[in-house]
Subunit: 209 residues, 2 copies
Protein backbone atom coordinates (compact mmCIF):
# COMPACT_ATOMS: atom_id res chain seq x y z
CA UNK A 1 0.00 0.00 0.00
CA UNK A 2 1.27 3.44 -0.95
CA UNK A 3 0.38 6.79 0.61
CA UNK A 4 1.04 9.99 -1.29
CA UNK A 5 1.48 13.17 0.72
CA UNK A 6 0.55 16.00 -1.62
CA UNK A 7 -0.52 19.63 -1.74
CA UNK A 8 -2.90 21.03 -4.31
CA UNK A 9 -1.37 23.05 -7.15
CA UNK A 10 2.14 21.68 -6.56
CA UNK A 11 4.45 19.28 -8.36
CA UNK A 12 3.01 16.37 -6.36
CA UNK A 13 0.35 16.19 -9.08
CA UNK A 14 2.87 14.46 -11.36
CA UNK A 15 3.25 11.47 -9.04
CA UNK A 16 -0.49 11.49 -8.36
CA UNK A 17 -1.18 11.15 -12.09
CA UNK A 18 1.45 8.41 -12.43
CA UNK A 19 -0.17 6.42 -9.61
CA UNK A 20 -3.52 6.72 -11.39
CA UNK A 21 -2.03 5.71 -14.74
CA UNK A 22 -0.38 2.71 -13.06
CA UNK A 23 -3.63 1.52 -11.51
CA UNK A 24 -1.88 1.54 -8.14
CA UNK A 25 -3.60 0.85 -4.85
CA UNK A 26 -2.83 4.05 -2.95
CA UNK A 27 -4.25 6.61 -0.58
CA UNK A 28 -3.54 10.32 -0.29
CA UNK A 29 -2.92 12.75 2.55
CA UNK A 30 -3.39 16.44 1.83
CA UNK A 31 -0.82 18.87 3.22
CA UNK A 32 -2.20 22.39 3.58
CA UNK A 33 0.40 24.97 2.59
CA UNK A 34 -1.91 27.78 3.78
CA UNK A 35 -1.48 26.37 7.29
CA UNK A 36 2.26 25.64 6.69
CA UNK A 37 1.59 21.99 7.46
CA UNK A 38 4.66 21.05 5.41
CA UNK A 39 6.77 22.48 8.26
CA UNK A 40 4.79 20.82 11.08
CA UNK A 41 6.70 18.43 13.39
CA UNK A 42 4.53 15.51 12.28
CA UNK A 43 5.20 16.08 8.61
CA UNK A 44 8.91 16.74 9.13
CA UNK A 45 9.12 13.18 10.49
CA UNK A 46 7.88 11.99 7.09
CA UNK A 47 9.92 14.41 5.00
CA UNK A 48 12.62 16.36 6.84
CA UNK A 49 12.89 18.66 3.82
CA UNK A 50 9.46 20.11 4.67
CA UNK A 51 8.23 19.81 1.11
CA UNK A 52 5.84 17.75 -0.95
CA UNK A 53 5.55 15.21 -2.40
CA UNK A 54 6.44 12.23 -0.24
CA UNK A 55 5.46 8.64 -0.89
CA UNK A 56 5.17 6.26 2.05
CA UNK A 57 5.83 2.66 1.02
CA UNK A 58 6.15 -0.62 2.89
CA UNK A 59 9.92 -0.25 2.61
CA UNK A 60 10.24 3.38 3.65
CA UNK A 61 9.59 6.90 2.45
CA UNK A 62 10.54 8.34 -0.92
CA UNK A 63 10.81 11.98 -1.97
CA UNK A 64 11.86 13.89 -5.10
CA UNK A 65 9.53 13.73 -8.10
CA UNK A 66 11.96 12.19 -10.64
CA UNK A 67 12.77 9.36 -8.23
CA UNK A 68 9.12 8.79 -7.32
CA UNK A 69 8.04 8.74 -10.97
CA UNK A 70 10.67 6.15 -11.86
CA UNK A 71 9.67 4.15 -8.79
CA UNK A 72 6.04 4.06 -9.89
CA UNK A 73 7.06 3.03 -13.40
CA UNK A 74 9.33 0.25 -12.09
CA UNK A 75 6.83 -0.96 -9.49
CA UNK A 76 4.00 -1.27 -12.02
CA UNK A 77 5.79 -2.47 -15.15
CA UNK A 78 2.55 -3.64 -16.79
CA UNK A 79 1.51 0.02 -17.11
CA UNK A 80 4.53 0.63 -19.36
CA UNK A 81 5.13 4.13 -17.99
CA UNK A 82 8.86 4.15 -18.84
CA UNK A 83 11.22 2.25 -21.17
CA UNK A 84 12.46 0.04 -18.34
CA UNK A 85 14.42 -2.44 -20.42
CA UNK A 86 16.43 0.08 -22.42
CA UNK A 87 19.08 1.97 -20.39
CA UNK A 88 19.54 4.66 -23.03
CA UNK A 89 15.83 5.35 -23.49
CA UNK A 90 15.33 5.23 -19.73
CA UNK A 91 18.15 7.76 -19.31
CA UNK A 92 16.52 10.03 -21.88
CA UNK A 93 13.32 9.98 -19.83
CA UNK A 94 15.27 10.62 -16.67
CA UNK A 95 17.19 13.48 -18.28
CA UNK A 96 13.89 15.10 -19.22
CA UNK A 97 12.53 14.75 -15.69
CA UNK A 98 15.80 15.97 -14.22
CA UNK A 99 15.69 19.08 -16.41
CA UNK A 100 12.15 19.81 -15.29
CA UNK A 101 13.12 19.32 -11.64
CA UNK A 102 16.38 21.24 -11.56
CA UNK A 103 15.86 23.94 -14.21
CA UNK A 104 12.23 24.57 -15.19
CA UNK A 105 10.68 24.11 -11.76
CA UNK A 106 13.55 26.07 -10.20
CA UNK A 107 13.01 28.98 -12.60
CA UNK A 108 9.32 28.96 -11.64
CA UNK A 109 10.13 28.79 -7.93
CA UNK A 110 11.84 32.16 -8.05
CA UNK A 111 8.41 33.80 -8.34
CA UNK A 112 7.00 32.64 -5.00
CA UNK A 113 9.86 30.94 -3.15
CA UNK A 114 12.60 33.53 -3.59
CA UNK A 115 13.27 33.47 0.16
CA UNK A 116 15.14 30.21 -0.42
CA UNK A 117 17.94 32.10 -2.13
CA UNK A 118 17.89 35.62 -0.65
CA UNK A 119 16.90 37.05 2.73
CA UNK A 120 13.12 37.04 2.93
CA UNK A 121 13.05 40.70 4.00
CA UNK A 122 15.12 41.89 1.04
CA UNK A 123 12.13 43.11 -0.95
CA UNK A 124 14.20 44.47 -3.81
CA UNK A 125 15.99 41.17 -4.37
CA UNK A 126 12.72 39.22 -4.14
CA UNK A 127 11.23 41.57 -6.73
CA UNK A 128 14.30 41.26 -8.96
CA UNK A 129 13.82 37.49 -9.00
CA UNK A 130 10.13 37.78 -9.80
CA UNK A 131 10.89 40.14 -12.66
CA UNK A 132 13.10 37.57 -14.38
CA UNK A 133 10.63 34.65 -14.09
CA UNK A 134 8.73 35.27 -17.37
CA UNK A 135 12.04 35.24 -19.25
CA UNK A 136 13.62 32.22 -17.52
CA UNK A 137 10.48 30.06 -17.52
CA UNK A 138 9.78 30.95 -21.17
CA UNK A 139 13.33 29.94 -22.09
CA UNK A 140 12.84 26.61 -20.34
CA UNK A 141 9.54 25.86 -22.06
CA UNK A 142 10.98 26.91 -25.42
CA UNK A 143 13.78 24.40 -24.97
CA UNK A 144 11.18 21.72 -24.22
CA UNK A 145 9.12 22.83 -27.24
CA UNK A 146 12.05 22.87 -29.63
CA UNK A 147 14.48 20.19 -28.46
CA UNK A 148 12.80 17.80 -26.02
CA UNK A 149 9.12 17.12 -26.72
CA UNK A 150 9.33 14.47 -29.44
CA UNK A 151 5.58 14.25 -29.99
CA UNK A 152 2.90 13.24 -29.69
CA UNK A 153 4.17 12.41 -26.20
CA UNK A 154 7.37 13.66 -24.59
CA UNK A 155 9.31 10.50 -25.42
CA UNK A 156 7.59 9.93 -28.77
CA UNK A 157 4.85 7.45 -29.54
CA UNK A 158 4.70 6.03 -26.05
CA UNK A 159 3.12 7.81 -23.10
CA UNK A 160 5.49 7.90 -20.09
CA UNK A 161 6.01 9.41 -16.65
CA UNK A 162 7.57 12.42 -18.42
CA UNK A 163 4.14 13.43 -19.73
CA UNK A 164 2.67 13.63 -16.25
CA UNK A 165 5.55 15.81 -15.11
CA UNK A 166 5.45 18.20 -18.08
CA UNK A 167 1.69 18.58 -17.72
CA UNK A 168 2.11 19.42 -14.04
CA UNK A 169 4.63 22.21 -14.61
CA UNK A 170 2.58 23.48 -17.57
CA UNK A 171 -0.25 24.31 -15.14
CA UNK A 172 1.69 27.37 -14.00
CA UNK A 173 3.06 28.90 -17.16
CA UNK A 174 0.47 31.61 -17.68
CA UNK A 175 0.85 32.74 -14.06
CA UNK A 176 4.60 32.84 -14.63
CA UNK A 177 4.10 35.25 -17.51
CA UNK A 178 4.79 32.86 -20.37
CA UNK A 179 3.02 33.63 -23.67
CA UNK A 180 1.35 30.32 -24.64
CA UNK A 181 1.55 31.26 -28.32
CA UNK A 182 5.31 30.78 -28.17
CA UNK A 183 5.00 27.12 -27.20
CA UNK A 184 2.10 25.64 -29.23
CA UNK A 185 3.31 22.04 -28.96
CA UNK A 186 3.51 22.26 -25.16
CA UNK A 187 0.01 23.74 -25.06
CA UNK A 188 -1.36 21.03 -27.34
CA UNK A 189 0.28 18.41 -25.11
CA UNK A 190 -1.36 19.98 -22.07
CA UNK A 191 -4.77 19.91 -23.76
CA UNK A 192 -4.44 16.24 -24.69
CA UNK A 193 -3.21 15.37 -21.20
CA UNK A 194 -6.21 17.08 -19.63
CA UNK A 195 -8.48 14.67 -21.53
CA UNK A 196 -6.94 11.54 -20.01
CA UNK A 197 -9.00 9.71 -17.39
CA UNK A 198 -6.05 9.36 -15.00
CA UNK A 199 -5.33 13.08 -15.14
CA UNK A 200 -8.96 13.98 -14.57
CA UNK A 201 -9.14 11.57 -11.63
CA UNK A 202 -6.01 12.92 -9.94
CA UNK A 203 -7.07 16.54 -10.33
CA UNK A 204 -10.64 15.86 -9.18
CA UNK A 205 -9.34 14.09 -6.10
CA UNK A 206 -6.99 16.96 -5.19
CA UNK A 207 -9.59 19.66 -5.69
CA UNK A 208 -12.34 17.82 -3.79
CA UNK A 209 -10.28 17.03 -0.69
CA UNK B 1 32.27 4.06 -27.20
CA UNK B 2 31.31 6.95 -24.92
CA UNK B 3 32.56 10.54 -25.03
CA UNK B 4 32.18 12.76 -22.00
CA UNK B 5 32.09 16.50 -22.54
CA UNK B 6 33.22 18.06 -19.29
CA UNK B 7 34.64 21.20 -17.75
CA UNK B 8 37.10 21.23 -14.88
CA UNK B 9 35.71 22.08 -11.44
CA UNK B 10 32.10 21.41 -12.47
CA UNK B 11 29.54 18.72 -11.72
CA UNK B 12 30.72 16.74 -14.74
CA UNK B 13 33.31 15.22 -12.39
CA UNK B 14 30.57 12.98 -10.94
CA UNK B 15 29.97 11.21 -14.26
CA UNK B 16 33.69 11.14 -14.95
CA UNK B 17 34.26 9.28 -11.68
CA UNK B 18 31.39 6.90 -12.41
CA UNK B 19 32.86 6.06 -15.82
CA UNK B 20 36.18 5.30 -14.14
CA UNK B 21 34.54 3.17 -11.45
CA UNK B 22 32.64 1.27 -14.15
CA UNK B 23 35.78 0.50 -16.11
CA UNK B 24 34.11 2.03 -19.14
CA UNK B 25 35.82 2.55 -22.48
CA UNK B 26 35.41 6.30 -22.92
CA UNK B 27 37.12 9.44 -24.09
CA UNK B 28 36.78 13.01 -22.87
CA UNK B 29 36.47 16.43 -24.48
CA UNK B 30 37.28 19.44 -22.34
CA UNK B 31 34.98 22.47 -22.59
CA UNK B 32 36.70 25.69 -21.54
CA UNK B 33 34.33 27.89 -19.55
CA UNK B 34 36.94 30.70 -19.56
CA UNK B 35 36.43 30.88 -23.34
CA UNK B 36 32.64 30.32 -23.01
CA UNK B 37 32.97 27.23 -25.18
CA UNK B 38 29.78 25.86 -23.63
CA UNK B 39 27.89 28.51 -25.63
CA UNK B 40 29.74 27.94 -28.91
CA UNK B 41 27.67 26.88 -31.95
CA UNK B 42 29.52 23.56 -32.15
CA UNK B 43 28.84 22.67 -28.53
CA UNK B 44 25.21 23.83 -28.68
CA UNK B 45 24.69 21.16 -31.35
CA UNK B 46 25.73 18.60 -28.74
CA UNK B 47 23.90 20.15 -25.80
CA UNK B 48 21.44 22.94 -26.64
CA UNK B 49 21.33 23.84 -22.94
CA UNK B 50 24.88 25.18 -23.23
CA UNK B 51 26.02 23.37 -20.11
CA UNK B 52 28.17 20.43 -19.10
CA UNK B 53 28.17 17.50 -18.79
CA UNK B 54 27.04 15.73 -21.95
CA UNK B 55 27.65 12.11 -22.82
CA UNK B 56 27.77 11.09 -26.46
CA UNK B 57 26.75 7.46 -26.93
CA UNK B 58 26.15 5.25 -29.97
CA UNK B 59 22.42 5.83 -29.48
CA UNK B 60 22.46 9.59 -28.98
CA UNK B 61 23.43 12.26 -26.49
CA UNK B 62 22.57 12.31 -22.80
CA UNK B 63 22.63 15.24 -20.38
CA UNK B 64 21.71 15.82 -16.72
CA UNK B 65 23.94 14.25 -14.09
CA UNK B 66 21.33 12.06 -12.32
CA UNK B 67 20.29 10.53 -15.66
CA UNK B 68 23.88 10.02 -16.78
CA UNK B 69 24.89 8.42 -13.48
CA UNK B 70 21.99 5.95 -13.65
CA UNK B 71 22.86 5.26 -17.29
CA UNK B 72 26.45 4.39 -16.39
CA UNK B 73 25.26 2.14 -13.56
CA UNK B 74 22.75 0.35 -15.83
CA UNK B 75 25.17 0.06 -18.76
CA UNK B 76 27.90 -1.52 -16.63
CA UNK B 77 25.96 -3.70 -14.19
CA UNK B 78 29.04 -5.73 -13.23
CA UNK B 79 30.42 -2.63 -11.50
CA UNK B 80 27.42 -2.67 -9.12
CA UNK B 81 27.20 1.12 -8.96
CA UNK B 82 23.48 1.18 -8.09
CA UNK B 83 20.90 -1.27 -6.68
CA UNK B 84 19.50 -2.03 -10.13
CA UNK B 85 17.27 -4.94 -9.17
CA UNK B 86 15.47 -3.25 -6.29
CA UNK B 87 13.06 -0.46 -7.35
CA UNK B 88 12.81 0.97 -3.84
CA UNK B 89 16.56 1.07 -3.21
CA UNK B 90 17.12 2.43 -6.71
CA UNK B 91 14.56 5.16 -6.03
CA UNK B 92 16.35 6.04 -2.79
CA UNK B 93 19.57 6.50 -4.75
CA UNK B 94 17.76 8.54 -7.35
CA UNK B 95 16.10 10.68 -4.70
CA UNK B 96 19.52 11.46 -3.25
CA UNK B 97 20.90 12.43 -6.65
CA UNK B 98 17.80 14.46 -7.45
CA UNK B 99 18.17 16.40 -4.20
CA UNK B 100 21.78 17.16 -5.00
CA UNK B 101 20.84 18.28 -8.52
CA UNK B 102 17.78 20.38 -7.75
CA UNK B 103 18.52 21.72 -4.26
CA UNK B 104 22.16 21.55 -3.18
CA UNK B 105 23.74 22.36 -6.54
CA UNK B 106 21.10 25.05 -7.14
CA UNK B 107 21.87 26.68 -3.78
CA UNK B 108 25.56 26.69 -4.74
CA UNK B 109 24.82 28.10 -8.20
CA UNK B 110 23.43 31.30 -6.71
CA UNK B 111 27.00 32.32 -5.86
CA UNK B 112 28.36 32.48 -9.41
CA UNK B 113 25.38 31.95 -11.72
CA UNK B 114 22.90 34.41 -10.24
CA UNK B 115 22.29 35.91 -13.67
CA UNK B 116 20.11 32.89 -14.42
CA UNK B 117 17.48 34.20 -12.02
CA UNK B 118 17.90 37.99 -11.98
CA UNK B 119 19.09 40.53 -14.53
CA UNK B 120 22.85 40.27 -14.80
CA UNK B 121 23.30 44.01 -14.32
CA UNK B 122 21.28 44.11 -11.07
CA UNK B 123 24.35 44.15 -8.83
CA UNK B 124 22.35 44.44 -5.61
CA UNK B 125 20.24 41.37 -6.38
CA UNK B 126 23.31 39.38 -7.44
CA UNK B 127 24.97 40.34 -4.16
CA UNK B 128 21.84 39.46 -2.18
CA UNK B 129 21.95 35.97 -3.66
CA UNK B 130 25.64 35.55 -2.90
CA UNK B 131 25.05 36.64 0.68
CA UNK B 132 22.57 33.82 1.28
CA UNK B 133 24.76 31.03 -0.20
CA UNK B 134 26.65 30.10 3.01
CA UNK B 135 23.31 29.63 4.79
CA UNK B 136 21.48 27.73 2.05
CA UNK B 137 24.39 25.46 1.11
CA UNK B 138 25.10 24.75 4.79
CA UNK B 139 21.45 23.79 5.31
CA UNK B 140 21.64 21.41 2.36
CA UNK B 141 24.83 19.72 3.56
CA UNK B 142 23.44 19.46 7.10
CA UNK B 143 20.41 17.63 5.72
CA UNK B 144 22.76 15.25 3.91
CA UNK B 145 24.85 14.85 7.09
CA UNK B 146 21.89 14.20 9.36
CA UNK B 147 19.25 12.46 7.25
CA UNK B 148 20.72 11.09 4.03
CA UNK B 149 24.30 9.85 4.32
CA UNK B 150 23.79 6.35 5.74
CA UNK B 151 27.48 5.58 6.11
CA UNK B 152 30.05 4.52 5.36
CA UNK B 153 28.79 5.29 1.86
CA UNK B 154 25.76 7.38 0.95
CA UNK B 155 23.51 4.35 0.49
CA UNK B 156 25.10 2.32 3.29
CA UNK B 157 27.57 -0.51 2.94
CA UNK B 158 27.66 -0.42 -0.82
CA UNK B 159 29.45 2.24 -2.84
CA UNK B 160 27.16 3.76 -5.52
CA UNK B 161 26.86 6.56 -8.05
CA UNK B 162 25.57 8.74 -5.19
CA UNK B 163 29.03 8.80 -3.65
CA UNK B 164 30.61 10.24 -6.79
CA UNK B 165 27.97 12.97 -6.90
CA UNK B 166 28.24 13.95 -3.23
CA UNK B 167 32.03 14.06 -3.48
CA UNK B 168 31.77 16.35 -6.51
CA UNK B 169 29.51 18.90 -4.82
CA UNK B 170 31.61 18.67 -1.64
CA UNK B 171 34.55 20.13 -3.60
CA UNK B 172 32.97 23.55 -3.38
CA UNK B 173 31.67 23.82 0.16
CA UNK B 174 34.51 25.85 1.67
CA UNK B 175 34.30 28.36 -1.19
CA UNK B 176 30.56 28.58 -0.54
CA UNK B 177 31.24 29.59 3.06
CA UNK B 178 30.26 26.31 4.73
CA UNK B 179 32.03 25.53 8.01
CA UNK B 180 33.35 21.96 7.54
CA UNK B 181 33.16 21.36 11.29
CA UNK B 182 29.38 21.34 11.04
CA UNK B 183 29.37 18.37 8.67
CA UNK B 184 32.06 15.94 9.88
CA UNK B 185 30.52 12.88 8.21
CA UNK B 186 30.42 14.63 4.83
CA UNK B 187 34.05 15.67 5.25
CA UNK B 188 35.10 12.15 6.24
CA UNK B 189 33.27 10.82 3.18
CA UNK B 190 35.10 13.32 0.99
CA UNK B 191 38.45 12.24 2.44
CA UNK B 192 37.74 8.56 1.82
CA UNK B 193 36.50 9.28 -1.69
CA UNK B 194 39.70 11.17 -2.52
CA UNK B 195 41.69 8.00 -1.77
CA UNK B 196 39.88 5.89 -4.40
CA UNK B 197 41.81 5.07 -7.55
CA UNK B 198 38.89 6.01 -9.83
CA UNK B 199 38.53 9.41 -8.19
CA UNK B 200 42.24 10.11 -8.44
CA UNK B 201 42.24 9.07 -12.09
CA UNK B 202 39.29 11.28 -13.04
CA UNK B 203 40.69 14.33 -11.25
CA UNK B 204 44.20 13.82 -12.64
CA UNK B 205 42.80 13.56 -16.16
CA UNK B 206 40.76 16.78 -15.78
CA UNK B 207 43.60 18.79 -14.29
CA UNK B 208 46.21 17.59 -16.82
CA UNK B 209 44.14 18.31 -19.94
Amino acid sequence: MLTLYYAAHTCSLATHIALEEAGADYSTVRIDFAKTQQQSPDYLKINPKGRVPALVTDRGILTETPAMLAFVAQSFPAAKLAPLDDPFAFAEAQAFNSYLCSSLHIAHAHRMRGHRWVDADDKAAIAAMQKKVPQSVTAGFELVEKDMLKGPWVMGERYTICDAYLFTLAQWLEADGVDPNRIPRVIDHRRRMAERAAVKAAIAQELSA
